[in-house]
Symmetry: C2
Subunit: 143 residues, 2 copies
DNA sequence: GTCCCTGCAAACGGTTTGCACCCGG
DNA sequence: CCGGGTGCAAACCGTTTGCAGGGAC
């Protein structure tokens, strides 16, 4: 579980002012195990503090993102998802329910680097698409 | 070069009515070697037929996309790009100029499939990010 | 006390939709 | 002639921005 001071320390180390909004946003992302949209975060924060605004959630997320404390992922033109998992990883997207799950990191095959000619590659991002465990069960009720 | 009848045939085979807008949209995409946004396509078509509307370009692109004649790619929440290259391939995105280039297809390493547990994988999509050839030259003017 | 952050509302860019008219089959 | 496509404008949705006031350091 994430303690208050851990979050404060993470924000401090990134040189960000510790404000209520940033703290709450960071806390929310760390406590969830699934990726969240800005809107979900806004509603959660807004429930405990009705004065909190959507714009500030966006601003906070951008600040956290620039500071490298969260990662923004955008898939298929839908609302951006925010991810507090900073370990290298890839993503799996379910075609049916749309859930986005983390999958373990693997590097690009060596041969690929050669096919890229004069380009420099800094990042390797993979997206797998298919049926998640739950949707697969539903597809085949029995046999 | 793509001949008029080839495009007509492709549309026919997909069971789509052959209308001026769909033909022009398809032609435009086939003739370009880079991916285009709906807006670019709209402006190109609008130049020769000032009555053409943005909405119809979107509708046509959606129809072509549903029919499997073009592929829609959305990257980083920016305007969608449309791609008439139907061969399997991956994408390279330049961090500096934003250009999106096709790179040769390669399959996921076998080990990856095992790490996915009960999920079924239908598609494997890779995005490489870095500096394209042009931007790399500019980065290092000399030494 | 100084900036930076916040909240609000308005603006924004990309895309979709409702509707009346039009055209391909 | 019928059904679907088209053009237009307005709606939509996620996100950003300008501004005035407030809070962190």
């Amino acid at each position: 579980m994430y303690k208050r001071e851990e979050i404060v320390r993470a924000l401090e180390q990134s040189g960000l002012r510790i404000t209520s909004q940033r703290f709450c946003t960071m806390e929310y992302l760390l406590r969830r195990d699934v990726h969240s949209t800005a809107d979900e975060i806004f509603h959660a924060i807004n429930k405990s503090d009705p004065r909190a605004s959507r714009a500030t959630v966006y601003n906070s997320l951008n600040a956290l993102s620039r500071a490298g404390l969260v990662r923004e992922i955008s898939i298929d033109g839908k609302a951006a998802l925010f991810d507090s998992n900073l370990r290298r990883h890839h993503h799996f997207v379910c075609d049916h329910c749309g859930v986005v799950e983390d999958v373990p990191w693997f590097d690009a095959p060596k041969a690929v680097r050669h096919s890229l000619g004069a380009r420099t590659v800094r990042e390797f991002e993979v997206m797998l698409r298919g049926s998640c465990e739950n949707c697969k069960k539903k597809e085949k009720p029995s046999c």
